[in-house]
Structure formats: C-alpha cells, structure tokens
Symmetry: C2
Subunit: 147 residues, 2 copies
C-alpha cells in the first residue's frame, strides 16, 4: 500500500467514524453528511431497496425510537479496499445497550459500504447493503448475538 | 465515461455473464473461475460470513439439488461502477423455473459484488453480499416474488 492509498484508507475510516458517532447520537443529519443524494440502499428490513438520501435518513429515524438511550457500537472483521475513486468497506457490526451490554436490535449484521470520490474531491456513499441471514427451512431470520 | 472505463465495464459484464451461465449449468467450477481464493461472502442463509473460494463453492453445491432442472435468471436495476482496480456491481435478481416461470428459490434477492484487478491483470471477486430483508415484528424473512 503506497502513501497515497494509505492516506485514502484513513480518510474512509474517518468518514465511517463520523457515521458511527452520528448513530450513537441518533443524529440522522450527521449520519448522512457523506451520503450521495442518489445512494442505493439495501436495508436489513423491507423494502427490497431504498433510493436516495431521504429514504436512507427516514429508515434510521424510524429506528431511533426503538433504540436504548445509551448505545455502543461493535465492529468485527473489517476490511477497506481503495483504488482510484472507489472504496469498498465490509464488516460485521452490532449495536449494544451501553448499560446492559445486550444487543440493542437484531444482533450482528453484515455491512457493505461503497464510497465514490465525486468531481469535487469529496467521498460519498453511493451504495450500502445491510443484512442478516435467514434459515431456508423455517423462513425465519437468524439472529446472532455472539460471534 | 472514457473508452478505457467503458472497456472495463464490458469486461465486468462478461465475468458476470460467465458466472450466470455457470449457475444455469449448475457448474460450480465455472461460477468460481473469477473468484479470489480469499473472497469474503455474506450469503442469504447462515453462517454470517464465509471465507474463501471453497466455502463459496460448497454453498452453491448445497443449493444445486434443490433447484429445478431448467433455470432462468432475471436481473433488475443493475449498476456497475469501475475505477482504478476496483469495480462494484449491485442488482436485484431471482432464479426462476424455466418451465413454470415461478421463483425457484426465495424470490428476489439483493446482490452486491466487488471485483479487484489483481497484479496479473485479472479481475477477481473479493467480496459478495446476497440477502433478503426480514420483518422485525415477525422475525420472518420477507420473500418478494414480483417487483
């Protein structure tokens, strides 16, 4: 990894950190500061896909009332790849109740985020995919609380 | 999009087409011809993540016996972004029974595929994420057969 690529990886980490801080503060404006107007979002819950930053923002605003007052964020097996004007990040994460240390939502989710550097030099999220697996025999989502 | 980027987008389409033809032929070797040894795969069914081309191949070999004899493949809302040595593709797709035209598995899935151009110039899939959403009230996977 050369110096320039390394710098870009650090830039992407900083954007992810800001998204995470926005989430812990339940601040959708802060979470979406680095999202493209035209982001295509595959969420863990329906619909099959969301188009646009407003739909992304609303999906979080619907979740906020169901989250505990004080949240923590755990990530695992994170990978960042950057080349040219694209960056792809994938990781497992879960939200936990900072007081009880229990999962705050559905346990561990799989997250893939794609950033694109725009003409003004700013990195924006153009695609995000968040999910949990399902059991094809029972048709039920499979929650994982420990990995 | 300049000529070089356009060419690369066509290269990626050709690799996707080969994967699709491998799937229709239930030929896991052909499907994995352009996969990295170290691919990280988030599948629609457990576990949370698979590491490596052999785990990817096995996941398909387990599905093949449950598929109808004659398959077709439908894709919708496909997007390909290429820059430097990275390419990200996302789309909705479903497998259908070519005779009945019904969904062959769980209906429409969301698919994100990340390709990386390796040192030898060959593009390889380094990450893939396939999922369907779940209903947080019932805990059940939400199958979509018509979009």
């Amino acid at each position: 990894m050369n110096a320039s690529t390394h710098q870009t990886g650090e830039d992407i980490k900083a954007l992810l950190k800001e998204w995470q801080q926005g989430l812990l503060a339940k601040d959708a404006d802060r979470m979406t500061r680095h999202y493209s107007e035209h982001v295509v979002f595959y969420d863990a819950t329906p619909p099959l896909q969301h188009h646009g930053i407003e739909a992304y923002r609303r999906s979080w605003e619907l979740i906020f009332p169901h989250l505990p007052d004080k949240l923590d964020f755990e990530a695992y097996d994170s990978d960042i790849t950057v080349s040219g004007d694209l960056a792809v990040v994938h990781f497992l994460n879960r939200l936990i109740d900072a007081n009880t240390k229990d999962s705050a939502t559905c346990g561990w989710v799989r997250v893939t985020v794609c950033f694109k550097r725009m003409d003004d030099g700013q990195w924006k999220v153009v695609h995000e995919h968040v999910s949990i697996p399902f059991d094809p025999m029972s048709g039920k989502a499979v929650f994982t609380h420990q990995i």
